[in-house]
């Protein structure tokens, strides 16, 4: 594998890494953890830029939220008390669901997952409901909202350096509800985040995996709950709207019809879990 690999660069700074990517475009790839790359049947790549020495393996808590470096491993996200504190720890749970093997999670990185994960990515689902931003450096430096990043093809020679998770109010709760066996990726997963204000829902975010290409937010279902109390009938109405909106893929292990059928239940359970968390915490 990587049969034509001729060299691996190990830059010590971001400008050095960017210069290497610019100079060798076409036959060069960025490597973070490398778990998906090492065995890929890629005979085009001749050089790799290993970004492990760029100092991007951090979790930093700031007043505006938390900053997650691109090379932080999935297992560190699972174990981090800081990440576990954010919105009921949905990002930690999602990182744990990326791969059932700790041996993979010890090496796989957040940045690597972000550029390689597909439509069933629970990590994308969590980042969508958290409204994460992805910071990319290249010719210029910019931060993209996760939904725009997911719809963008490639990084255009730039380097993904950081994921930013905003700070949430203490009255914010979130939940992720996957369906599947422990030995497989989640066949589908719904996520929800709600901020309670004077008994009503604010900033409702609902997302689901198994959509075409990438997980999606279900905006119309969010609108159903906005400004209203999180009661049984309102949850049912939002789940029904989500079910109507959901356009799932048909893929191995679960058909389009199956995913469609379970979507109502997954969204409902995610919202019920939010309600239960709110009752426990608030």
């Amino acid at each position: 594998m990587l049969s034509n690999l001729k060299g691996i660069f190990r830059p010590r700074s971001i400008p050095e890494a960017l210069a290497l990517l610019e100079k060798n475009s076409g036959s060069i790839l960025v490597m973070a953890g490398g778990t998906k790359l090492v065995k890929s049947p890629n005979d085009i790549v001749q050089e790799l830029v290993d970004i492990k020495d760029l100092g991007l393996d951090y979790i930093k808590e700031e007043s505006g939220g938390i900053r997650l470096g691109a090379t932080i491993t999935l297992q560190k996200l699972v174990e981090s008390p800081i990440v576990n504190e954010v919105a009921n720890g949905v990002l930690s749970k999602a990182a744990g669901m990326c791969n059932r093997s700790r041996m993979i999670r010890n090496v796989s990185t957040l940045g690597g997952e972000l550029v390689t994960a597909g439509p069933l990515s629970v990590l994308y689902c969590a980042l969508l409901i958290l409204q994460a931003q992805i910071r990319i450096v290249g010719g210029e430096e910019f931060a993209l909202p996760i939904n725009i990043f997911l719809n963008k093809k490639g990084l255009g020679g730039g380097l993904l350096v950081e994921t930013l998770i905003p700070a949430f109010k203490e009255t914010t709760v979130a939940a992720l509800v996957p369906i599947g066996t422990e030995s497989t990726d989640a066949l589908a997963c719904a996520g929800a985040r709600v901020t309670f204000q004077k008994g009503s829902c604010q900033n409702v975010k609902i997302a689901i995996t198994g959509c075409e290409k990438i997980p999606q937010r279900l905006h119309e279902a969010e609108v159903v709950l906005e400004g209203k109390p999180l009661t049984g009938p309102n949850i049912e109405a939002a789940a029904e709207t989500a079910h109507q909106l959901y356009r799932p893929i048909s893929a191995p292990l679960a058909s389009e019809e199956y995913r469609k059928e379970v979507s109502r239940s997954l969204v409902k359970k995610a919202l019920v879990q939010c309600l239960e968390s709110a009752e426990d915490q608030l």
């Binding site: 090492v38 065995k39 700790r102 041996m103």
Partner: protein
Amino acid sequence: MDIRITVDGRALKADIPPNQTLSDFLRAHGCWSVKHGCETGECGNCTVIVDGRAVYSCLMLAVQADGKSVETFESVQKRSEFAPIQEILMDFGDMDCGYCIPGMMMAMKALIDRIPEPTEEEVLDQLAGTVCHCVRSVKPASALLEAVQKMRGNW
């Protein structure tokens, strides 16, 4: 590419092709406990410990371990004729062909080095990335759980 890796306490220096995996590198340097299995990160037969964390050596390039400390099952074995955990597993008779055992043990060692008295949930989580093709992990998992309770850090 020139690399320096400490393997089971030995400082190794080598000039290797950039696409050489860590598992191939370790076997080329006499660590026969590192097994070739699925080669895709499913079975855990190649599990070693790199800087304290269990990893699949088939999914890591040797270059990625440059400057790091690697532990293989040879480091456990060489302390005595049989390591205590081997004796416990033999008592259980749960080793079957034994091909998966070095990888499973290194996964367990990484856990116990960090958490001396892990819970059953933590043990099963750690073993989730290892597969015994003879008995589908059930017997080794139960034996390792029992072994962990008896070991109390006495590798």
